[in-house]
């Protein structure tokens, strides 16, 4: 099916998935992670009981971290929209946003370890998709 749309001689990556598909997957994960981040941040700002009580943070408190996570969530969603437009700059913005979120989630891990570790894993997948597979298709000739 796909071969009818692709130009002759199109080669695929060793994973068997086209680079473009990885980028689309990366964008989907970016928006998904961004939404989760905003929920995560809003709950933290509201001082939800979802989080571990009396958790010790690297610095500051649950409220501050809630704002950090919320802002990163907005950045992730912006990145998801931007990467789909296909510029090299947006691609690096996506990589930077996902990396920063990976770091922030690790530092925020005390509040809700399983949630943070899951988000961390998503961020690593995004960095993988955008850096390994995003290069060719996104450069505008």
């Amino acid at each position: 099916m796909a071969s009818s749309v692709e130009p002759a001689g199109t080669r695929h990556s060793p994973t068997g998935i086209r680079g473009e598909d990885w980028v689309v997957a990366g964008c989907a994960i970016l928006s998904f992670a961004g939404i989760l981040n905003i929920i995560d941040g809003a709950l933290a700002i509201g001082g939800s009981r979802v989080y571990t009580r009396n958790a010790v943070y690297v610095f500051s408190d649950l409220n501050t971290w809630g704002w950090i996570i919320l802002v990163l969530g907005v950045a992730l969603i912006a990145a998801a929209r931007g990467v789909l437009r296909g510029s090299e700059l947006w691609r690096w913005f996506g990589v930077a946003a996902a990396s920063l979120n990976a770091l922030a989630q690790l530092l925020f891990v005390q509040s809700y370890p399983l949630w943070s570790v899951a988000m961390f894993a998503l961020d690593v997948i995004v960095v993988y998709a955008l850096s390994v597979h995003g290069g060719r298709k996104l450069t505008t000739p």
Partner: protein, 155 residues
């Protein structure tokens, strides 16, 4: 490798930041290792930054870590310094890979390997942190060992 592929010219383009792949390249970027190299460098920087923070917190804010944890040897402060130094080593490796030498690639593998080992021995301090850092280190070793080779060959 595709025939007629000019590594030098491609690396020059990559460094100039304008274009990653030569005109007419298909979706075989992964095979060339350029993307993987970028990925490994980002992950090295991420893991290095995290280990440095981890080490600083261990040295300065012991309340954060599991109280009365038993370590393989020595105490929390010592481990804090060890992880801090391993993190710096990873950051140096991330910078060195920009230079694009085969030596830097191996240096990155060794740095990530040592950090993986250090984090595992330090796992009592804060299991979630160590496990996450360990996983990233393994991914770095995979990226550098399995995919970064062709990109740096002969340099």
């Amino acid at each position: 490798m595709a025939s007629g592929y000019d590594v030098e010219a491609d690396l020059g383009r990559a460094r100039s930041g304008n274009r990653y792949y030569p005109e007419g390249a298909d979706y075989d970027d992964a095979a060339r290792g350029a993307g993987w190299l970028t990925f490994a460098t980002i992950m090295l920087a991420l893991s290095g930054t995290f280990s440095v923070i981890d080490g600083i917190v261990a040295v300065s804010k012991s309340k954060f870590f599991t109280p009365n944890a038993v370590y393989v040897f020595s105490d929390l402060k010592t481990w804090g310094w060890i992880v801090l130094i391993l993190g710096v080593l990873e950051l140096v490796a991330a910078g060195a890979i920009f230079g694009g030498s085969q030596l830097a690639r191996w240096f990155g593998i060794v740095a990530a390997g040592l950090n993986a080992l250090g984090q595992l021995l330090f796992v009592q301090g804060y299991p979630w942190w160590s496990a996450a850092a360990f996983a990233v280190d393994v991914v770095i070793i995979y990226a550098l060992a399995a995919h970064a080779g062709p990109r740096l060959r002969g340099r």
